[in-house]
């Protein structure tokens, strides 16, 4: 049963939980988890779960999404952000990117995201942890055991990988993509 088809709106504090429970099966059923948590009700089986994340309300098509999937619903990635589950009894819990969450668990009212302090960057396709903020080219190359004397750092940012001057500090917010190439040119 689809609530929309049935002409019901399921906003927090509105609607009848009993009507939802009375639905035959979970086909087409859409549930707002925040509304259920605030009323202290158990979340029934459903096909689609409306989940608050930060200031958005997203749809999850599974009861057990991963942290990464939920982050992607608000266009964020685990290389830069973490996902935190919020419960009605003032309890918060960090959800790892590969961890699955049970959207029907008692008291779960939604999620917030937070920028990580230690983010992940990618160098030649491999992930490396690094502190967020402005980092030197040498600090980034050091992740792969290279130095600016021997290697050029290339950053892929809104386009192809281009050389970064060794004197320039690189702003790291998480998820940046880098490559390296042996130093080969010189003024002749």
């Amino acid at each position: 049963m689809s609530l929309e088809n049935a002409g019901q709106h399921l906003e927090p504090g509105q609607g009848s939980a009993e009507a939802l429970f009375g639905a035959p099966g979970s086909e087409g059923l859409e549930i707002d988890i925040a509304g259920m948590a605030e009323r202290g009700h158990e979340v029934p089986h459903a096909e689609i779960f409306h989940v608050p994340i930060d200031c958005e309300r997203v749809k999850a098509e599974t009861q057990h999404p991963t942290g990464e999937l939920l982050l992607s619903k608000v266009h964020k990635r685990p290389c830069a952000f973490e996902l935190i589950a919020e419960f009605v009894h003032c309890e918060n819990r960090v959800i790892e990117s590969g961890e699955t969450v049970d959207l029907r668990q008692h008291g779960l009212k939604g999620f917030i995201t937070a920028h990580k302090e230690i983010v992940t960057i990618f160098i030649k396709g491999d992930p490396y942890p690094i502190e967020r903020g402005e980092r030197t080219v040498a600090e980034i190359l050091d992740k792969v055991g290279q130095t600016p004397d021997g290697y050029v750092l290339l950053e892929e940012k809104d386009g192809p990988p281009l050389p970064v001057p060794p004197s320039m500090r690189v702003k790291i917010g998480g998820c940046e993509v880098f490559y390296t190439q042996p130093q080969s040119g010189g003024s002749s």
Binding site: G159, P165, G186, S187
Partner: protein, 116 residues
Amino acid sequence: MSYPQEQIDELKRYCTKVSALSEGGIAFLYLEELRLPAGCKPEICDALLCPSAKDSYPSRLYFSAQITGPYTRNWNVTGARIGEKNWWAFSWKVELSAPTLAQLLVAHLNGFAKEK
């Protein structure tokens, strides 16, 4: 001269169009609207990549304008006529063993990012 398609495709990431140009028996790759490294002005210009030896350099990269970059360069080619257009190039020697076209291009572009 022909190049592997995957190398041409990789080169296309850096510009809007790659086309072949031959003059005086030398093969060039014409790169339209090439993106230049951070700190360059203009940020985009047309370029000619010559992957083979020319003017005592193993390879060369010519620009459709003289670029202002983070470091002073020796622009020893100014307004050279190739393919009925004027081109500029700075003295930059790239010595890579069997580079792909994109690696060669990046090594030349690194001339804007490297102090010496």
